[in-house]
Symmetry: C2
Subunit: 171 residues, 2 copies
DNA sequence: TATTGTTATACTCTATAACTATA
DNA sequence: TATAGTTATAGAGTATAACAATA
């Protein structure tokens, strides 16, 4: 079962490519989640910290819009981050209904640490490839991502799914 | 938000590579699930049909082992496939506890159709790349998959997850 | 009347455990 | 006593709906 990779799919020589993408991608996501675990963070937490770090002071509505996440889901995730002192909700004078989200000092440090973890993760994941090959792979993926209109830094797992099956296996 | 892809991540030029893999991979999986929907199949169904097609007559225990799926989960999926006449459980004389799984005529045709859908899916997903580039991408991914010891044709989404967080977002 | 954020509820998916029938 | 398959239960995770405060 180790090298039967040739005998699988249907027709064209790259027919398995889409499956390979989904397979390696899911593996990458799972491994990253494992590396995040010691930091007591789930992937969506990391995504939020990164987004807030990039757009300091944005509202929950704006953030949920950007990440394609339901506001009600965001609340729970933000609660956890605020409780840990990584992020704070500051009430704004302009509109007393909404909060401006800011990273704390600890939050900024956590973002740094996530960056380091991501780098280690990438290195372990792509150990089979040298630097030039990694750059090549990144370039190809970026072109797919752009053509498919994927938003930079937004994982589909964050998204509210259009009423139907969850963004499931295979591919 | 369309080309901020440069300003995200941490340090190295390919730091975003792992995220890109997870992002594109999840996108691929979601799009494939959509293409499967008209066939009234979920991705795990397709995975099962393919596996049984490759190893006609295997038992549920063997199949659940191969796909890394809990036997109890397999039951429900097989029920649906059998009900639709795509697959059958034949009792074997040797061991009356177990069943040998076989594709029906309709099941084999469905496998063909899944292959066609997969091909269309790949073509749409990788529209940004020409044939040579697709082959290049596939080769790079295959090397990662091999080095990371991923089993051919088995999506991590099938797997029983080692007691912890689900194979989640990011990467 | 519409919007921000929140709470409460329901639904889906999947893991765990308990059970039967064989062996 | 152990194994194949099944059923039943419970636990995550996430979408939907209802709500209070403000605009």
């Amino acid at each position: 079962m180790t090298s039967a990779r040739s005998s699988d799919p249907s027709s064209s020589p790259t027919a398995e490519l889409a499956f390979l993408l989904a397979q390696v991608g899911a593996h990458a996501a799972a491994r990253f989640a494992e590396r995040l675990a010691p930091l007591k963070l789930l992937p969506p937490h990391a995504g939020i910290l990164r987004a807030v770090g990039q757009s300091d002071g944005l509202s929950q509505a704006a953030l949920s819009e950007r990440l394609g996440m339901f506001p009600s889901r965001l609340v729970v995730l933000l609660d956890a981050l605020e409780e840990r002192g990584l992020l704070e909700r500051r009430s704004t004078p302009e509109d007393r209904r909404s909060y401006a989200l800011h990273l704390t000092r600890a939050g900024k440090e956590m973002v740094q640490q996530i960056g380091r973890v991501a780098e280690e993760h990438k290195e372990a994941l792509c150990a089979a490839l040298d630097g030039a090959e990694q750059a090549q792979l990144a370039a190809l993926l970026r072109r797919i991502a752009d053509e498919q209109a994927l938003t930079a830094g937004v994982h589909p797992g964050y998204r509210k799914l259009g009423r139907g099956r969850p963004a499931d296996p295979d591919g």
